[in-house]
Amino acid sequence: MTQVLDREQIAEWSAQQPRRPWTKKPARLQAWIAVAALLPAALVALIFTYTEIPGPILLVAVYFPLQLLAAGIAAVATKGRQGAADSVIIVLAIGATLFSFIILTSVLGSLIVRGFEALWGEDGFRSSFLFQNNVYINPSTPLEYGGLGHAVIGTLMIVLIASLIAVPIGIATAIYITEVRGRAVPYVRFFVQAMSGIPSIVAGLFILTVLIVSGAMNQSAFAGGLAYAILMLPTVARTAEEVLRLIPEDLRTGALALGSTRARVVLRVVIPAAKTGVITAIILGVARVIGETAPLLLTSLKSDQTILNPLTDPIAALPTYIFDNVALPYPGAVTRAWGAALVLMILVLILFTLARILGRDRLNRFR
């Protein structure tokens, strides 16, 4: 006799989360974990306060082995010998997590602390640092004067030029892969992937030989933008490809059935449907290149003035502004570098968050 199952019943069952009775930890295990986690830390804290041994040594040579040992003992006591390997993995994994977290906190924290020295003076927020340029400024000039306005304009100009070149080509590449679907699709994808591995310095060298050494033009925003475009193209193409893939096939066939041509399907149906995703692709492309320094050192050099002509003159940009100020033996110049780094990081963070928000929207719509 076969029993016919009720559909709703099945749906209800499959919607239930599987119970995991083994994830609930018995009290004895929890007690052991608590002791193993707290005891080494307490011990090391005591040693640290009552002896002269410097912190880093204590951390690496005493705390870390001690913590591993404590976790091992706790594991053996509660789960037998098999638990020992687990405890080591867990301690190391938490250690690795803390390590990466500390690094990120240190980078962002130092940026904020040191960056604000440039942006904030006794007179409050120093908007001059954001808007003035570097003319008449030497490394020992007080921070009240001069700023990175010219570099911000330069960065915006270079990124804009790069986007104008890389975005259409990148999206066209994605369209070729997902919409035109020609015979060369695997090769095109291969080349795009290979292109994403080009080191930024090599992109700079390439533009340097083709445009500048050959005498076609001077180091300028346009040359820098071309070098950026090389780095930006693969990111835009791959992200856009992923996005276009998410567009339901029904939209395409539906539009074709209504009698529109392929080109119209792409331009009027697919791209508008993937609009936020395509914007995300562009943002990710910009975020990829905006902090690149090496290509600009070769292709756009630097300038102290505000340059508005993208074709003829060397131009400053945020990364090269930082680069030029870092190594100068003047505290003021170094502070300027930190200030510029903070501004750059804020730009990157804004792009990053925007891409996240738009990306979430995209996923909600098509999945």
């Binding site: 098999q82 994994a93 060369a184 080009i198 060298l205 791959r238 690149e292 990081m345």
Partner: protein, 324 residues
């Protein structure tokens, strides 16, 4: 209305491309799609010409000797072996640090952390990947270097009998170790995001089966998850390696370039890196001949990173990871 009723399947693609506007559209898109190839070929040709010129004037010693005396005297001598080797050494130091950390991180994210924390950690890792290299370089110069000199001093004091921790100069500034550490920070997000995805795709039925058989976490990792994701993890490591080989600015301020070969002394203040050589020398380039040598160095850097990247991508693709 002319379509015969017996036709059950129409080739939509050929029907669509018969339209004139579509043909133009398709052709334009196809041409644009080959830009990537064009750029790769352009780099190979333009830098390749420089490389051929360098090899013809310098001989193969350009690749296999270590010297850079171009602006003094009339017989310029240049060789980038020390720099090539230095790039590899730095990348290896970076890998030694980054691989265990990344694998443990991805194990933590996939198997250990509660879902909220896992998502937060994924964001932290992505944020790490978004830090521009110049900012990392600035941080490394002012915040990493001073304590790292202390660590190296201690390493040398207590473990100096191990050859790699030798230091004869007493100067712990600008060592391959510090530069390798910075590269590790750049590699960790790349390797982690690939291996996290690969480990996360271990079929849950395999994991459940292993747990049901009484496997501990370690046994499950050792016999189920790691073998399953091995290909992807290796590919991710190679992607990180490709990134490390081409990195310039992050290590520019923390690596002392010496035109000599430093085989293994990772905490000696002597290092080399092709990419850094290019930037360092470009600032005071003496003339077209030296510039050409730099382009040639760039060519070999390009070939090396391209090879590593292509292999990495093939491996990652073979394990079925969607591209990133």
């Amino acid at each position: 209305m002319a379509a015969p009723p017996t036709e059950t399947r129409r080739d939509l693609d050929s029907a669509a491309t018969s339209h004139r506007g579509d043909r133009i559209f398709n052709r334009g898109i196809t041409i644009a799609a080959f830009t990537a190839l064009l750029v790769l070929a352009g780099i190979a040709i333009f830098l390749g010409i420089a490389a051929v010129e360098a090899i013809t004037t310098q001989g193969w010693s350009f690749l296999f000797t270590t010297e850079w005396k171009v602006d003094q005297g009339d017989e310029p001598v240049a060789g980038i072996w020390g720099m090539l080797y230095g790039s590899v050494l730095l990348a290896v130091i970076g890998l030694v640090i980054a691989v265990p950390v990344s694998l443990l991180l991805s194990v933590f994210i996939v198997f250990l952390a509660p879902r909220r924390l896992a998502r937060a950690m994924t964001n932290v890792i992505d944020l790490m990947a978004a830090i521009p290299s110049i900012i990392l370089g600035l941080w490394a110069f002012y915040l990493l270097s001073p304590p790292a000199e202390q660590w190296q001093f201690l390493l040398n004091k207590y473990l100096g009998w191990i050859p790699i921790f030798q230091n004869d100069s007493g100067n712990f500034n600008g060592t391959p170790f510090i530069a390798g550490f910075v590269l590790a920070i750049m590699m960790i997000p790349i390797i982690t995001s690939v291996s996290r995805e690969v480990l996360g795709r271990t079929p849950p039925e395999l994991i459940n089966a292993a747990e049901a058989l009484g496997c501990s976490l370690w046994t499950m990792l050792r016999h189920v998850a790691l073998p399953y994701g091995r290909g992807g993890i290796v590919g991710g490591i190679m992607l990180g390696l490709g990134r490390a080989l081409g990195e310039t600015i992050a290590i520019f301020f923390v690596l002392k370039l010496v035109y000599d070969i430093n085989w293994y002394k990772i905490i000696e203040s002597e290092g080399g890196s092709v990419a850094t050589l290019i930037v360092a020398t470009f600032g005071e380039v003496s003339g077209p001949y030296e510039l050409n040598l730099l382009l040639a160095a760039g060519f070999f850097l390009f070939v090396g990173t391209l090879a590593v990247n292509v292999i990495a991508n093939l491996i990652v693709q073979k394990t079925g990871r969607s591209e990133r």
